[in-house]
Each structure stands twice: as structure tokens, then as C-alpha cells.
Amino acid sequence: MPELIAKSALEGQGPLTLGGVTLAEAVVGQITSIAVFAGKEKAVAKALKPLGLTFPEPNCWSAKGDARIIWTGRDQAFLTGVEPPMIEGAAVTDQTGGWATLSVSGTAAVEALMRLVPLDLRLMAFPVGRAVRAPLNHMNAVLIRTGDYAFDLMVFRSMARTAWHELESAMQALEARAMLKS
């Protein structure tokens, strides 16, 4: 009988620090999409209550312990880091492994991301707790701010290598620019 080994999207890829940015593959555990059926908001809220979470407002995310709930679209959110509860009134779909999560942190994190994401990522416009569906160059991504200098970025698993490469290139350019000044 076979024993199947699970591999993450960027299995074996260690963190990279360059140009004031640290890029790493993040382990977020289980990912479940929750799509609320019309008029079933209360039932969904009730199901999420034991986790200490509420269904997020558009462009927001929140967390309780390891569990996060991230707005990802109209009437849709991703629950990560926790076994999903039984939810009446929502379409619940396992997405674990379908998304690669990259953490981008450091004082120059915004500088790296502003090479690829065409959104205003200044702290006042995009504070901690915000989540957006945004293009990462040509890729569709989910971007959340986890700290003043920290972001998590979710991309399709199959595109994880391109996402890594593009962020790495941005970081290399930042590093080269910094060397120019010194």
C-alpha cells in the first residue's frame, strides 16, 4: 500500500532575505472556502462563533489564534489554519494545497510589493486587517496585511514559482539600489 508524501507548493525553498525584505513560504494549514447563500448570513455567523470569528466585511480579514478568515470575493471568504465547522447555509469547499502562501516582511516589504501590485499599500490606506484580491504582476492573488511591515500573499499553487521569482527579482533590484546609495 502506498504512503503518499504531502508536498507544499515550494517544498524545499528556504526563506530569502534581500534588500530589506524577507520572503518565505508560509504554512497556513487547511484552507476552506466559505460562500454564503443568500439570506443565510445568520446561520453562517452562528457556525463561525465557536471559532471566535465573524464573516469578514469586504476587503478585510481577522484572526483568532491560528484561525484566520479572509474576505476573497462577493459573499466568499477563506477560512485558514483550522478544521472547518459544519456550516449550514454556505457552500464549503476544501482549497488546501490549491493556494501557495508567501509571507513578505521587512522594512522594505511595501517597496518590493509596489513593484508588482498596483494598489496603494501605504499603512493608512492599507492597514493591518485589510485583505484584497489584487494582481501580482499578471497573477491573481489574495493580499493581506499582517503587520506594519508584514504581508501574506496567496497565489495559485501552480504559479508559486513565478510569484517567488518575481518577488525575488524585485528584492534583488532593491538590494542593488541600496548598494548604489551606500
Binding site: P2, L4, D94
Partner: protein
């Protein structure tokens, strides 16, 4: 010639560079132009059309003359303005647009032919003699045309693009811009200060003066220090704002590494998109020349350029300088030169009433009417009243007044308005929403005016942002401008307007004479303003000459349209990162490494990389591998990664109803645990996509799409849901990436699966779905087949994909099976007559592919009504058939009746897919043939003009292999 003690160059850091094969020395902080002037190099370029000798004219990005090629290890960049390019150790540049050496340019013969090459000459070559155009004129003009040359290689340099956001964007860091940045910065607002040059200060660096009791340079340094310390201010040097776009968006080009020798990972340029709440245009003004005879010789320069070279770079372009200017402000050039110990031969001022009190001879009411010196100015001729006299001089500084640099205000179709007092166009207020022009860019030419208007604009922006700030306005000179316009000097000889494109006053007059009287027509007729400087130096003067020639006023004549970009922008910067594989994301399968480990060449399918075939030792062509893989599937078992197919999870009590609406056939009646093939139409009735959908539960379906249309179908479902049935209880989401799915096909498929499954398969009928376990992992098993054999697809969560793939292959190989790639997959499906997007390519109806019966009569669906339109069905349509031939056939070939003429009107159809079938020992194809189904059993002639193929084929039913489907259901 260097002047001691002058300039902002770093004299402790000498720099060696090369121009036209000769080594020179300059200093850090020099531009190529200033360093060449320091080395007394006067001749730097040849003009575009007549190949006239040209020298440096200006000290800014508007330079029309001094364009050079910069040669790097990986790049050869033409049309680099020597006035912008900073020198660095090892810089290699060469002059361009010459045949032979710069000094003895053979194409200078054009200058002697100029009577035949006047404005519009090449439009005339179109007309007569007619036969000459293609044979003679065009090749000659084409060879001579173009500025600079390219290496012919890919530009492998690194470029960057970036997005920035701010409250206040300040464009230009002269006195006005600095005042804005300081005021807005102190209020705490987010400020971006973009400065085109490599120093902030603007004209203050070139003109000097006193601000707030300090020397201007000291004031600039103190402001810079304060701005640098503010975390809310981003100073972007070497950044030219190139365009104004909707919603406060501005394009900007930053020269990141062009002032250094190439180094790893350092971008050459960065193209910025800056979104600003408020923008302030503080770009200053551009000095304009005067058109007099032979005013284009090396050594004749703009007065402001001479002053900038002296004060900012510590160089002077001559030993005996003459000034020809019509404003009081320009007198400062002569005073600065004399103060630095340079001889000023004379000041020639066309204004009768101007002051004659200077420390050098002043000729009032005088004009320059001629010049001498082929490769460098030697002498000028001055006319005063009826007298003419000559002055020996090697540098003539010219000023015809100033034009506000208002280009950005016109980028959204605004037109500037004429101001008689300034004899210049000034910006129209509100021409670009959110953009305010201040200082010289708005026609306020004094330093005090620049500071005051910048201060006021900043206060308004700060207030609008809900912030408060109090900044004192420093004192500065507030001298009046006092211009008396002079555009051209009457006299013999050619007087140049557009130096870059060799346009003279005579050309403009000729244009008017030949009926091209509108300024836009004149521009195209003469090519004035169409060179890399885009007429920055010549526009206003040219239209003044046109106004004169047509007897209209300048305001009435108007200007041509200023369009982005303000300065040339390399395409490489705008498309940064998009070269080669950077063009689009690459999508990799979980089995990617395992396939590559087996030597499989990968082929792109959309953004995915899929294995083409899996070569075995001894196989020399892809065909050998493909044939083997086909036989392997037909005789034993094959494994293929089919994860690229789109998978959409659909849930809700209206899920079945929703599928009935988007598919032509019925899904609400599908039993749980079963799979059905479905056909989807576009709203126009043509086929959108096909695929299977499985019913996983009462209110739960899983749809599969083709690889190519996965995104398209998802978008279509979203559209249908939102537009037509938003109130239905249905939700869907892509799970393409969540599952790795493998086809296991062949007579031994069941045996292979049983060897990996935790429990042996029970009765799984054809077109069923069930849940199985592999090593404890829950998996989905579909009994479907795209090969015509007994086939299954097993799906596991993606993280287990690679492990399962490797395991399946290892086991398959012990059974005489193995992996198969896209080539074999294609042959297998052609043998079985299954369609792909090669067939359903967007112009195909259900009727065309023989699936009209799949359009259910019991219900409505998207596209059903539109599919009934005349012309979309019947014997006139080309219908799907199979082709069989003994010789090689090709996709893309066209079909003709044997014996009939082969030309377009006789076309009977075309071939969409072909392959060699090792199973049937023949070439097979799928094709669309007019009334094809009625012609099955006949013969058709296949002609491929591109590949030279001409073969008679049998027309067959498209399903060649196992037409009864016995094997599928085995």
C-alpha cells in the same frame, strides 16, 4: 574649458570616458555634454536630414542636437541626450547619424542637395515619376532615415516598473517645486518630489542668486537636508514625469542605473505609475532660440545653457562669448561670464530701449544676420540699422525668451492660451484635474514669483487634505521680465527653427505657400517638432513664423498637440520584466519534476507546461515515443496528468437548475454518483466549451472544463449568475488547483488502480464517480475516458499529487505500461473522434459537430435561441468528419473535390487535427467539410499550400476506434 572654483562637480573624483574612440577625462557630476565642452569638443553630432555639423545647444533634456549612442556590454542605446547622460568611469559613447567620421560625414552631401530636399520633398517623391518610388526613392530614403543604430540583439538589461501613491506629487525641483515640497512636507502629507536632473535646484543651480539672505545653492542644500529627513517625503532624482493620465495618475521614467557602469541586478530604468491626490507642475520654462542665417553652427548655444555650464559644471564653451538676447534676464549670462573672467565680446540686444550699461560693448537695436565657421563658430555678422559689422567670437549665447514647460497640462486635451505680455503660451487652468502649474511653468518668471506661487499652491493642497502648516516665504529677486519678441531675423541664408529635423523658416513659409496653413498640417509637411525633442525648442517659433506667413496672429494660429511622453521612454522600461518567459506566469503541475526527470520535453498549453512525450532509450524521434505510448495505452495501461483541466465546484439547491441553464443538455436529472458529458454554448449560439460534470451530492456538482477555456468558463458562469439568475441559490468556485488528477487508461487500468487503492474497486460503471482512498488519503475516482479505452481519472488533494504520480508510474511500468504525453493523448483522442478546442474554435455550432441532439428540447439554455438562426445549421455548414490517408496529412490544409480546380472559391472545408495512428496504421484527421456527414464514404482532396501537401483522403465517420464504445464500458 574648465573654470576653477565653479560648479557642483566633484573635482576629487576624476572620471575617464570615451567618445568616438578617443579617451577624455571629466568629473563626477558632469554630463557627457559638460565633459565634452570641458575638453573643448565642439562638434558632437550631425543633423538628421542635411547632416550639418552640430554642437551642444542646451543643458537639459530638451536637447535637439547632442544625441549619441551609448555602448554597453549588453546594450547599445541610440539617441541618448549627452546633456542628460552623466559621465561615469568607462562610459563609451559615439556620435550617430553619419557615414564615415563625424568630421567628414559623407552624407553631408545632402546639405548641397538641399534645394532638392526642401520640406515635403519626400511626399513629392510619392507622386512623380511614379515608378521611381519603390525602385529608387524609397530604398534611399529608408537607408538614410532613422537616428542612431541598434545592436540587433535582444536587450537583456534589467528594467523595473513600480507603482507609487502620494498626497502631493511635485513635478520639478526648482525654486517653485522645492517650496511646494517643503510646505506640503512640513504639513505631514505624503509628498513625492520628482526631479528630472541628478541634482535638485533647477535654474537656481544655473543662475545662482540669493534666497532668504542665503546664496541660492545654500538654500537648496538646506531644503534638501530638511526634505531628506522627512519620512513622508520621497525625493526621486533622475525621474522625468512623462505623462498625465486619468484620475491623478502620472507616468514617470527614472534613470536608475544609467549613470553607472552596468552592475548585477541594478535596473537601468524604472517606469513609475504615480497616483497623486494633488499634483503641482513646477517644471520651469524652456528657453527658445531666434531664427537667423546659419544659426545652427557648433558654438551657438542657448544662453541659459551657457550659464548652466558655467555655474553648475564649471565649464565655458568658448573664450570670447557673445550674447544675443531680447530680455533683461538674459543679461545675467554675460555678467556671470565676466565675473568668472571670460571675455564677453558683445551683447547684441534687438530692443532699442534696453539698458546699455554693462561691462562689455552693448549693441541695442541690433541683430545677428550671419555666422561663419564650418565645424565651430568663428565670427558673426551683426546688423544695426543700415550698418553691418563683424565680431570675432567662438560662442554665441542666444535667447529669444522663454516658453513655460506646460506640456503635461495638455495631455488630457487641454490647449494652452497665448499671453501677449510674455510672448508665450501659458497653461490653461484646470486642463488636467488636480494639476496646478506654478512658477515659470505658469509664466511667473522671477524667483520670488516661483517661491510665492509654489507656496500658495502647496497651502491650497494642504488645506484640501485637511492638514495645517505655516511656512514663511523667503525673500528673493522679483525682477520684471521685459521681453520684446523676436522670432526671426530677415536676411539671406537658411535660418533654422528645428535643429533636430533640419526645418528652416523657408520650409515653414513654403508649407504655407503650398496650402498647408494649419499648424498641424505645417508640422507634418515640414516635420517640424517630429524629432526626438518633439519640438520643445522650436514649436512656438515655428508657429510664429507660420502666423507671420499666413497673416494671422499667434493665438489664432494655435499650437500642435503635446502628447505623452514628455521625454522619450524606452519600451523596455514600460514592459519591464515582460521579456521572454516574463511575459506571463508559468504554471507547473505537481508532476512537473517527475516528468522532467524522465526526460520529457515540456510543451506550453495555455500557461501550463505539460509533457510532450516520454522518450525511451533508443528512440530517436518524438514519433517513435508517441507511437509506443499510444500502443501502450491500447494494449496495457498509460498514466497522464490531466490536472490542467478546469474544475469548478458548484453547490446549492439551484445547482442542477443552473447547470441546465448553462449546458445544452440536462443535468438536474443526473443521479448522484454519475457523470455526464455536457456541451456549453455562448450567448450567440456557438460552442463555448465541453466537458464532463459529476454529481457529488444532491446539491453538489463538479464541472470540468477544457484546459484552454478554464478561465473563460469560470467568467461565463459568473456572468450568467450575476446577470440572469442572481437570486438562485448557487455558489461556485474554482478547485482546479486543489486537486491533482491523473488519467489511468487501458485494459490494465483497473488492475493498476487496484494496486494503489486501499480497497479494491467495486463495480464502477462507465460515467460514474466514487470516493476511494489511497494510503489513507481520500480521493475521487471518475470512470471517464478521453482515449476510448477503459479509463479512470483519480484525483487527490494537490499536495499528494507528485507522490501519487510517481507511484502510479512505477507500478504501471511493472505492468508494461507507463506515462504518456500530450502527443499520444492527441493521437488517442483523434482515433476516438473526441474534439478539443482545435475543433470547437469559436465558429462552430452544435450542429457542426453532430451534437444538435444534445440541445435539449425540454428546456431553455444559454445560446439555444441564437443557435436556431438561419445559417447556423443545414447542409451548407461545414460539418465534422474524419479523414483517413496513407500519406502524411496536415492540420490547416484545405479540402477540395478531387478533379476540381484548387482555388479559394472551390474550398470545401479545412482540417483541424491530424496524427499518425499506430492503431489503424494510417494517417487520421478531423476536418470540417461542407455537408460532410452526407459525404462520408466518399473521397476528398487535401491541399496544404504552405507545406506542399496534396493527398486524396477517405472521408470517414470521425470515430475510428471502437465506434460502439465496447472498450470504454468494459
Amino acid at each position: 574649458m574648465r573654470i576653477d572654483g565653479k560648479g557642483l562637480i566633484d573635482r576629487t573624483k576624476p572620471v575617464r570616458f570615451r567618445f568616438d574612440g578617443r579617451d577624455y577625462a571629466g568629473y563626477k557630476g558632469d554630463t557627457l555634454a559638460s565633459a565634452l565642452i570641458a575638453n573643448e569638443v565642439k562638434l558632437v553630432a550631425r543633423s538628421f536630414k542635411y547632416h550639418r555639423p552640430r554642437g551642444v545647444l542646451t543643458a537639459g533634456s530638451e536637447e535637439p542636437n547632442a544625441m549619441v549612442e551609448v555602448i554597453g556590454a549588453k546594450n547599445q542605446t541610440p539617441n541618448v541626450r549627452a546633456t542628460v547622460q552623466e559621465v561615469f568611469e568607462g562610459l563609451v559613447a559615439q556620435s550617430q547619424n553619419r557615414l564615415g567620421s563625424l568630421k567628414y560625414d559623407l552624407l553631408a552631401v545632402n546639405d548641397y542637395l538641399s534645394p532638392f530636399l526642401s520640406a515635403g520633398f519626400y511626399y513629392k517623391t510619392f507622386m512623380w515619376p511614379r515608378a521611381f518610388w519603390e525602385a529608387i526613392y524609397e530604398p534611399i530614403i529608408r537607408r538614410a532615415a532613422g537616428l542612431g543604430s541598434l545592436s540587433g540583439k535582444h536587450d537583456e538589461g534589467i528594467y523595473e516598473k513600480a507603482f507609487a501613491f502620494c498626497d502631493v506629487l511635485v513635478i520639478g525641483a526648482g525654486p517653485a517645486g522645492l517650496m511646494v515640497a517643503l510646505t506640503a512636507g512640513r504639513s505631514g502629507a505624503d509628498v513625492i518630489l520628482a526631479e528630472e536632473s541628478h541634482h535638485i535646484g533647477g535654474r537656481l543651480l544655473g543662475d545662482g542668486g540669493v534666497i532668504g539672505g542665503m546664496a541660492a545653492a545654500d538654500w537648496v542644500a538646506s531644503v534638501l537636508a530638511e526634505l531628506t529627513a522627512m519620512p513622508n517625503v520621497r525625493i526621486m532624482l533622475r525621474t522625468a514625469v512623462t505623462g498625465a493620465y486619468d484620475h491623478g495618475t502620472y507616468g514617470a521614467l527614472e534613470r536608475v542605473g544609467l549613470h553607472k557602469s552596468a552592475r548585477p541586478n541594478l535596473p537601468r530604468e524604472c517606469f513609475w505609475r504615480i497616483v497623486a491626490g494633488h499634483a503641482v507642475l513646477a517644471t520651469g520654462a524652456l528657453e527658445r532660440s531666434v531664427a537667423f542665417a546659419d544659426n545652427d553652427r557648433p558654438g551657438i548655444m542657448m544662453a541659459s545653457g551657457v550659464r548652466t555650464y558655467l555655474n553648475r559644471y564649471g565649464v565655458v564653451p568658448g573664450k570670447r562669448v557673445t550674447l544675443f538676447a531680447n530680455t533683461d534676464a538674459a543679461r545675467g549670462v554675460a555678467r556671470d561670464l565676466m565675473a568668472a573672467g571670460v571675455t564677453v565680446a558683445a551683447i547684441i540686444d534687438p530692443r532699442e530701449g534696453a539698458s546699455a550699461v554693462e561691462d562689455c560693448p552693448v549693441h541695442l537695436g541690433a541683430e545677428v544676420v550671419g555666422t561663419r565657421g564650418r565645424l565651430g563658430l568663428r565670427e558673426i555678422t551683426v546688423r544695426k540699422g543700415s550698418d553691418e559689422f563683424k565680431i570675432e567670437t567662438d560662442c554665441l549665447a542666444v535667447s529669444g525668451g522663454w516658453n513655460p514647460t506646460l506640456h503635461l497640462t495638455c495631455h488630457m486635451n487641454g490647449r494652452p492660451r497665448w499671453n501677449d505680455e510674455l510672448a508665450a503660451f501659458v497653461p490653461m487652468e484646470g486642463a488636467v484635474p488636480g494639476l496646478v502649474a506654478v512658477g515659470a511653468a505658469n509664466g511667473t518668471f522671477s524667483t520670488h514669483g516661483a517661491l510665492a506661487t509654489g507656496h500658495a499652491a502647496a497651502l491650497r493642497a494642504v488645506q484640501a487634505l485637511g492638514r495645517r502648516v505655516s511656512v514663511d516665504l523667503p525673500d528673493a529677486e522679483d525682477a520684471p521680465y521685459r521681453i520684446q519678441p523676436i522670432w526671426q531675423v530677415a536676411g539671406e541664408g537658411r535660418a533654422w527653427l528645428d535643429f533636430a529635423n533640419d526645418v528652416t523658416t523657408k520650409d515653414v513659409k513654403l508649407s504655407a505657400q503650398e496650402g498647408f496653413r494649419s499648424v498641424e498640417h505645417m508640422k507634418r509637411y515640414t516635420t517640424q517638432g517630429m524629432a526626438p525633442d518633439q519640438g520643445k525648442n522650436s514649436n512656438v517659433a515655428a508657429l510664429a513664423v507660420l502666423a507671420d506667413a499666413t497673416g494671422r496672429g499667434i493665438a489664432e494660429t494655435g499650437v500642435t498637440t503635446f502628447r505623452p511622453p514628455y521625454v522619450p521612454v524606452s519600451i523596455a522600461a514600460m514592459g519591464a520584466g515582460g521579456r521572454g518567459a516574463g511575459f506571463a506566469p508559468q504554471r507547473f503541475l505537481t508532476s512537473d519534476q517527475a516528468s522532467r526527470d524522465r526526460g520529457a520535453p515540456m510543451i506550453e498549453a495555455g500557461l501550463w507546461y505539460r509533457p510532450s512525450y516520454f522518450p525511451k532509450p533508443g528512440e530517436t524521434t518524438w514519433r517513435e515515443a508517441c507511437d509506443r505510448e499510444v500502443r501502450m495505452v491500447r494494449e496495457a495501461v498509460g498514466v497522464a496528468d490531466v490536472s490542467t483541466l478546469g474544475k469548478i465546484d458548484i453547490q446549492g439547491k439551484d445547482a442542477g437548475r443552473f447547470l441546465d441553464f448553462v449546458y445544452t443538455n440536462m443535468f438536474s436529472t443526473l443521479p448522484v454518483g454519475r457523470v455526464r458529458y455536457g456541451l456549453m454554448l455562448r450567448e450567440d449560439g456557438l460552442v463555448l466549451d465541453d466537458g464532463t460534470s459529476a454529481r457529488l451530492g444532491e446539491n453538489h456538482y463538479l464541472m470540468t472544463t477544457t484546459t484552454a477555456a478554464a478561465g473563460l468558463v469560470m467568467r461565463h458562469l459568473d456572468f450568467v449568475h450575476q446577470a440572469f439568475c442572481a437570486d438562485w441559490q448557487v455558489r461556485f468556485i474554482s478547485v482546479t488547483e486543489a486537486w491533482a488528477q491523473f488519467a489511468v487508461a487501458g485494459p490494465k487500468a483497473r488492475a493498476l488502480l487496484n494496486s494503489v487503492l486501499d480497497e479494491p474497486l467495486g463495480d464502477v460503471p462507465f460515467m460514474a464517480v466514487t470516493t476511494v482512498r489511497v494510503g489513507g488519503v481520500e480521493a475521487r475516482l471518475f470512470r471517464i475516458s478521453f482515449s476510448g479505452e477503459e479509463g479512470y481519472e483519480i484525483a487527490v488533494p494537490t499536495r499528494f499529487g507528485e507522490a501519487l504520480f510517481r507511484d502510479l508510474l512505477a507500478r504501471a511500468e511493472t505492468m508494461g505500461g507507463g506515462p504518456y504525453g500530450m502527443e499520444a493523448l492527441n493521437v488517442l483522442r483523434i482515433e476516438k473522434g473526441f474534439i478539443t478546442h482545435a475543433e470547437i474554435h469559436g465558429r462552430i455550432t452544435a450542429h457542426d459537430i453532430g451534437m444538435e441532439k444534445m440541445v435539449s428540447a425540454k428546456k431553455d439554455c444559454i445560446g439555444k435561441a441564437a443557435a436556431q438562426r438561419p445559417g447556423l445549421w443545414g447542409p451548407d455548414r461545414e460539418q465534422l468528419v474524419g479523414l483517413k490517408a496513407v500519406e502524411a496529412i496536415s492540420a490547416g490544409a484545405h479540402l477540395f473535390v478531387p478533379g476540381a480546380e484548387v482555388h479559394r472559391e472551390m474550398d470545401q472545408g479545412y482540417v483541424t487535427s491530424v496524427g499518425w495512428s499506430p492503431t489503424l496504421d494510417a494517417w487520421l484527421g478531423l476536418a470540417f467539410l461542407k455537408d460532410g456527414r452526407a459525404r462520408i464514404g466518399g473521397r476528398i482532396r487535401l491541399v496544404d499550400h504552405l507545406r506542399g501537401i496534396d493527398v486524396i483522403c477517405d472521408v470517414c465517420h470521425p470515430v475510428f476506434h471502437d465506434p460502439e464504445g465496447v472498450k470504454l464500458r468494459a
